[in-house]
């Protein structure tokens, strides 16, 4: 097993854990945390490919991850603001009870 392969496998496992959390948890905040975990797993892939890729001097992987971290921070801020706003309206963060648009 090469190092790149190990990193990709760990990152795939972390992505799967985040996906499972986002799909199964009841609390909206935990769903957001699961999405954050998936985002970080993708970032780890970028850095691993940059480190073991053919042209690391181009810095493309590092730049992509820096911008991705910034987008992730913005996403977390807006997502948590939405959750707080929803909590104020429904008095709950349980996703099973926020179902007024359910058909």
């Amino acid at each position: 097993m090469t190092p790149l392969l190990c990193y990709l496998l760990v990152s795939a496992l972390l992505f799967a854990i985040g996906l499972a959390g986002a799909l199964t948890r009841r609390n909206a905040i935990m769903v957001l945390i699961g999405i954050e975990l998936m985002l970080n797993a993708a970032n780890l892939n970028f850095i691993a490919f940059w480190r073991y890729g053919p042209n690391p001097q181009a810095l493309t992987g590092v730049m992509f991850v820096i911008f991705s971290i910034a987008v992730g921070a913005a996403e977390a801020a807006v997502g948590l603001a939405l959750i707080i706003s929803i909590y104020r309206h429904y008095r709950t963060t349980n996703l099973d009870q926020i179902d007024s648009m359910k058909g």
Partner: protein, 165 residues
Amino acid sequence: MTWPFTVIAVLTLASAVAAMSLRNLVHCVLMLTVTFAGFAAFYLQLDAQFVGFAQVLVYIGAVAILVVFAILLTRSAEPPRQSIFSATWVVGVGIAVIVFGLLSGLILSSRALTRAIRPPPEVSVRQIGDQLMAKFVLPLEVIGLLLTAALIGAMIIAMHEKEHE
């Protein structure tokens, strides 16, 4: 596979599983912080020092605190009476297992990933700064605009609704 990698990988995976399965949300966030620290350690292992410290600053320093604030503001710190997992959790776990199976199958069957190990690249923060100001200046400006918009948007969304007169 070296022993630092193994230690970090076990720690990160265990804390990620704990963060997704604990009952108390505050404990979940603490475990999530450990996971983010594990990611930062991975970046340092991969010779991406700048990204590692940016991860510490942004995720451990800002996002974790933000999540704690959200938990306290929405009063979800006390564990709920019913199950923390939704009724259809079997489907969710099944989808996650299928995704992991597909990903790992593709990774293990790829021949392009088994090349020889390369020496670590010599990258300084100065080079990253130079590149940010030259080749990547447009994305940098766009990110600045995005962060400003997200800041104002988050404030407006979370602001108290005015009482109807």
